[in-house]
């Protein structure tokens, strides 16, 4: 779409009897989309160049002798366009029939089934019965390396994958070989896509089941998956994603368009790290130690016990996690402050270098391999430890006051960690040896189970939504800590994430002026953003 920052000349044209005003330079396809009329297309992708070769988006333009490819034809003032005229639909029906001439129609075993553009278009506008009685051309299956599997027979030759590798990854590893009906997508030599950090996107942009993910192969049918908008938790870029969930388990991550953050893409590193969200060894019930005995209890009992014991156990030191939401971290900061203040540290794994996507400069797999380092930093939390997200807690192991750990799994620590502290509170999702000494185990939800925000490397606050149901009695940390603060200070218990955000924004200068509603689905930038290349 045309640049919206500068005021632009606009033009008005008529599409399917309806007038629409668009910036000059808009294509017919985009103009139709503005009116909510999606012209069928394969080769056109908003993030890539348009070769106008699929011939599916041809529309009738009054005065033009032939049907025009709407993806490359610039809209003209006063033009009259028909996308649904007899001529245009007859042509689409014809082109769709050509697509099926050699298509194997193996929908029952195809992963794309249910989200396949060929299925959709043929179902909507195709002929009832194909006329081809000829034997079909067969290419078979090819391992493209990495996570990508290629089913040549399903391919519609839109070349989106080739153009993605050329234009966005700028690592031309795919090409069309042969010509005419024998043309097929192929890799160079044996290397294929293996090792290309953004290659997984070719699976997303494939409009049919030609390029599929090995990881997702035959795992779930598309129509059984629930899609929940979320933020990739695997680095501080904050790529917008959808969680695809079946049976309360994350089945895959898919990028969600956000032109400010990740355009249409995400890296393979992030894409393939979701199994931890499905871990079954979870803290499920809040427990506390009493007389050397671990007692499970309901939240009311545990929090009452905890608030009583908090009264005489100072000073406070805390360990937070950059995997926790902004609201969780804000609540922790408020709790620590309410208890007289104290140091809060966090540990974050860091990669040696960034992995940028050359064709979209704003996007890179960032060095910080956690989603909310910025969120921790604006709460005045201090980074400790090494690049593996380990170490740095030696000072704390001898701490004799109150020790609060939120989210950090303490994987590098033994069962004696925190033995010296008079009160050790552990808020986490999973049991861990490092929390063995904890007096309170408070089960919290993962980001996938709760609503909240992360703040990415640029300083963009972005919302995510719960995609799976929480296990047992686990609650978001902001809710647990909010209830605790209620007992200590009498502040209101936030009942929804929005309230928790407001509470956090109220005590965080960087977030002041931002409302939860402002964030929308695109996010909003905090008061001290970091300029990224390409912005």
């Amino acid at each position: 779409m045309a640049d919206t920052k500068t005021p632009q000349e606009t033009i008005t044209l008529t599409i399917d009897g309806q007038e629409v005003t668009v910036p000059k330079g808009t294509t017919l396809l985009q103009a139709a989309e503005v009116m909510g009329n999606r012209v069928p297309h394969y080769c056109y992708h908003p993030g890539l160049s348009a070769p106008a070769q699929c011939r599916l988006c041809l529309v009738e333009v009054e005065g033009a002798p032939k049907l025009q490819p709407s993806c490359v034809t610039a809209a003209q003032d006063g033009q009259v366009v028909h996308t649904e005229s007899q001529k245009a639909t007859a042509m689409r029906q014809g082109v769709l029939e050509f697509y099926l001439a050699n298509h194997p129609l193996d929908c029952p075993i195809c992963d794309q089934s249910g989200e396949c553009k060929l299925q959709d278009y043929v179902h909507a506008e195709g002929r009832k019965h194909g006329r081809s009685r000829e034997p079909k051309r067969v290419f078979g299956r090819d391992d493209f390396g990495g996570d990508v599997l290629f089913y040549g027979d399903r391919c519609v030759m839109c070349t989106r994958c080739v153009r993605f590798m050329n234009e966005k990854a700028q690592d031309p590893r795919l090409t069309v070989v042969e010509r005419g009906n024998r043309s097929v997508i192929d890799t160079f030599f044996e290397e294929g896509l293996a090792g290309s950090p953004y290659a997984g996107n070719v699976v997303d942009i494939c409009p049919v089941g030609a390029l599929v993910s090995k990881d997702f192969l035959h795992k779930a049918r598309a129509w059984d998956l629930d899609h929940t908008p979320s933020i990739c938790p695997n680095c501080s870029q904050g790529c917008n994603i959808d969680l695809h969930v079946r049976d309360n388990r994350i089945q895959r991550l898919k990028p969600r368009a956000n032109h400010e953050v990740n355009e249409f893409w995400m890296c393979d590193y992030g894409r393939h790290r979701y199994e931890w969200m499905n871990r079954e060894d979870r803290l499920e019930i809040p427990t506390y130690k009493s007389g050397g005995e671990v007692r499970p209890a309901d939240w009311g009992t545990v929090l009452k016990e905890l608030s009583e014991r908090l009264e005489d156990a100072r000073p406070v030191q805390a360990v937070a996690s950059p995997f926790a939401s902004t609201e969780d971290l804000g609540a922790l900061r408020r709790l620590v402050d309410a208890l007289g203040g104290g140091d809060v540290v966090f540990r974050s794994p860091r990669a040696a270098e960034e992995i940028p996507l050359p064709g979209f400069e704003k996007l890179a797999r960032r060095r910080d391999l956690a989603p909310n380092v910025r969120g921790a930093e604006i709460q005045g939390m201090e980074r400790v430890g090494d690049d593996d997200g380990k170490g740095g807690l030696d000072d704390l192991s001898g701490h004799t006051g109150t020790l609060i750990v939120l989210g950090d799994e303490l994987t590098d620590l033994g069962e004696d960690f925190g033995a010296q502290s008079s009160l050790f509170i552990y808020l986490g999702a999973h049991p861990t040896a490092g929390a063995h000494q904890a007096d309170f185990h408070l089960p919290m939800t993962t980001f996938a189970e709760q609503e909240g925000t992360f703040i990415n490397v640029e300083g963009r606050v972005q919302r995510f939504w719960p995609g799976v149901e929480a296990t047992g009695a686990a609650r978001p940390a902001w809710m647990i800590l909010g209830a605790l603060l209620n007992r200590i200070e009498g502040t209101e218990i936030p009942s929804v994430a929005a309230d928790a955000f407001v509470a956090t924004a109220g005590t965080t200068p960087e977030l002041q002026g931002l409302s939860y509603a402002d964030l929308g689905s695109r996010g909003a930038v905090i008061n001290e953003p970091v300029a990224l290349p390409g912005s």
């Binding site: 070769p51 106008a52 070769q53 699929c54 011939r55 599916l56 041809l58 032939k66 049907l67 490819p69 490359v72 042509m91 014809g94 082109v95 029939e97 050509f98 697509y99 001439a101 050699n102 006329r131 081809s132 009685r133 000829e134 034997p135 051309r137 519609v156 030759m157 069309v176 042969e178 010509r179 005419g180 009906n181 024998r182 043309s183």
Partner: protein, 430 residues
Amino acid sequence: MAYPYTHEKEVRVLSRGWGDPTTRTLEGWKALGGYEALAKALKMERTQVIEEVKSSGLRGRGGAGFPTGVKWSFMPKEKKGPHYLCCNADESEPGTFKDRELLRWTPHQVIEGCLIGAYAIQADHVYIYCRGEFFETTQILARAVEEAYEAGYIGKDILGSGHSIDVTVFAGAGAYICGEETALMNSLEGRRGLPRIKPPFPAAVGAFGQPTTINNVETLCAVPHIITNGGEWYRQWGTEKSSGTKLFCVSGHVRRPGNYELPLGFPMDELIYDVCGGFQDGRSLKAVIPGGSSVPILSAQECESCTLDYEGVVEAGSMLGCASVIIMDDTTNIVKQVRRMVDFYAHESCGQCTPCREGTQWLSRILVRIENGRGTEEDLDTLLELGEQMTGTTICVLSDSAAAPVASSIEKFRDDYLALIRRGEKVGAA
């Protein structure tokens, strides 16, 4: 005897010198008045050159028949970067073999035409894009280019005029589609030979992103003669709208197939029965494809009063194309001929556009089935509908070209199809 076959009705302007190996050399060509036109053109204003060509009525000989002078005038008047002239020598249309002869007998004629054209459109560089299979031809041409460089006809400061033009001979890799002008430019740039979307047109954004004109070999060969003798002189042949002479590539069931240079507007009857000597005893005319495999087929009846000029052939129901006249007698199995042509297009489709990629192969498979006696009458309807779906829906016209002979043959020779369908019999002597 001169060049394989000649005929007294021929007007040998471009084909003058064919059959005589000395015309290949610079000396031989100069003996025929070679490079005089270049010298004359370089002394003229560019616009005068274009006007002269416009006044001659010369039309593009590659098939489309677009007026050459008008095409040249589309080039930007003000030069902002390099301009290019591409000479399209990727002659691959089935039935066409005129450019090959021009290149191998009179390479200097081609070069001279290119240089005058380049001068007219302010091109710095001429690329002669030769068909990949033209091994011998390309060598002869390359040798001639070397000679011309040495003699100062190409290169810096040509003939002391202050104008510099370079010429590069480029060999294709053997793809019919690279004769399509935008695919030719892609191929020239080292890309896959895929036709580009127009607009932008080559005169605005062509080879290497610069203004470019693409002309056929035969078109450029006519230019030196027009410059030497004037546009009016060229108009002495042909008709009002189709002026000049044209090389007719005649193939098929005639006694003397070959290249004949005849004035446009020449009667088809005369070409077949007089110039080419008619058919073998006892055979008669069944069909003619007048302009290379891409044009509709004509029945014997339609050929009767057909004259061979751009308008005359359209009137008869086909197109002159590049004047490659394929003549078929009554032993011909039309279905088989059409199937062979469609096979060619299926093989040569670049595979970009869906209707062409899938359609050409589908047509071919149906035709094979009909040819083998396993077709049905519904297949004919399918063929016609597929043809319609393939016409006007693609980036270039290869798809239209594949569909044209199928549709026209079903219309005009339905009985041939039906005979195969109904009885599984072969038609003609096959």
